[in-house]
Symmetry: C2
Subunit: 152 residues, 2 copies
DNA sequence: TTTTTTACATAGACATGCTATGCAAAATCG
DNA sequence: CGATTTTGCATAGCATGTCTATGTAAAAAA
């Protein structure tokens, strides 16, 4: 198979598809390059779990796995790591002997606060280089991306 | 350390910071939930490397690492995996005996095409549920996220 | 020509993700 | 009510993805 033969491109009727692919690419690249917080060891899933626990209170492992779209064993091992950091605690669920309730600790809240501070420090200078209209566009896009994530 | 003591929140002057954190969170979650293509084994970095090779032609390992904001050994091992898939080839750089030029193969182009098709199939139905104005907002946000990634 | 720098590979560590499977508790069924 | 099925989580085992530290060979500089 030669490297020089052209590969057919998509037709002009698929503008929405190209927008879709472009959006995923841009969001992934943005997450990769801008969204990395210096010194942060854990993935964005970890921080979103902590944020969800802060917002919604204690939750089961399987609930967290479903929310974050990861397999249950993946969430089990993440929770174990967060437990080792003392950022969450595991409590028995009084209404179900099989389940465990994952609870955010104060140390977890503080770690989340530090993470958010570091993320803001990193990104605000970039956003500040944009005009007000573009900043507004990105704010609205945040809502839309959240909405699409929920739709999924 | 109790779990119930409140953690102080940020002041009202930091609206831009909250927007910044929200944007990162939304982009990361969108990438995690919507951007996952069923059956895709490799990370989004892998697909972006292939896309960059397609757009810009052969590149060195260290160039690719810098572009994707990963360490050089990370890119080395990724290129080895892509080479095992026959999606890229390594060619000696005629002008530098140390360097290796990474070249996209036709199989790599086809794999990229399949990936884009699968991604579009996954995301277009979601985008189609939005109004034209929101679709336009997301298209502009794609450009802005790319711009911010480049600024970084 | 010798030294330093550069480009890439290797080693080793750990996080993140998956599937398959095990175990114990809850729920269901006969 | 006892037996079976389902459910919630843990464990095992594997591959990817990421890092830092270090090695090697070629190029560049001294």
């Amino acid at each position: 198979m030669s490297r020089t033969d052209p590969v057919p491109t998509t037709g002009p009727e698929e503008a929405l598809g190209q927008h879709a692919v472009e959006l995923v690419r841009a969001a992934a690249r943005f997450t990769q390059t801008v969204g990395r917080v210096p010194g942060a060891v854990y993935s964005s899933v970890a921080w979103r779990v902590l944020a969800d626990l802060e917002t919604d209170g204690p939750a089961r492992v399987s609930e967290l796995a479903a929310e974050q779209r990861v397999a249950q064993p993946t969430m089990t091992s993440l929770i174990h790591r967060l437990e080792a950091e003392a950022w969450v605690e595991r409590q028995p669920d009084p209404s179900d002997g099989r389940a465990a309730l994952v609870v955010l600790t104060r140390a977890g809240s503080l770690a989340l606060l530090d993470y958010r501070r570091a993320a803001a420090e990193r990104i605000v200078p970039l956003l500040a280089q944009l005009g007000a209209a573009d900043q507004e566009t990105l704010a609205r896009a945040s809502e839309l991306m959240q909405l699409l994530s929920d739709l999924d």
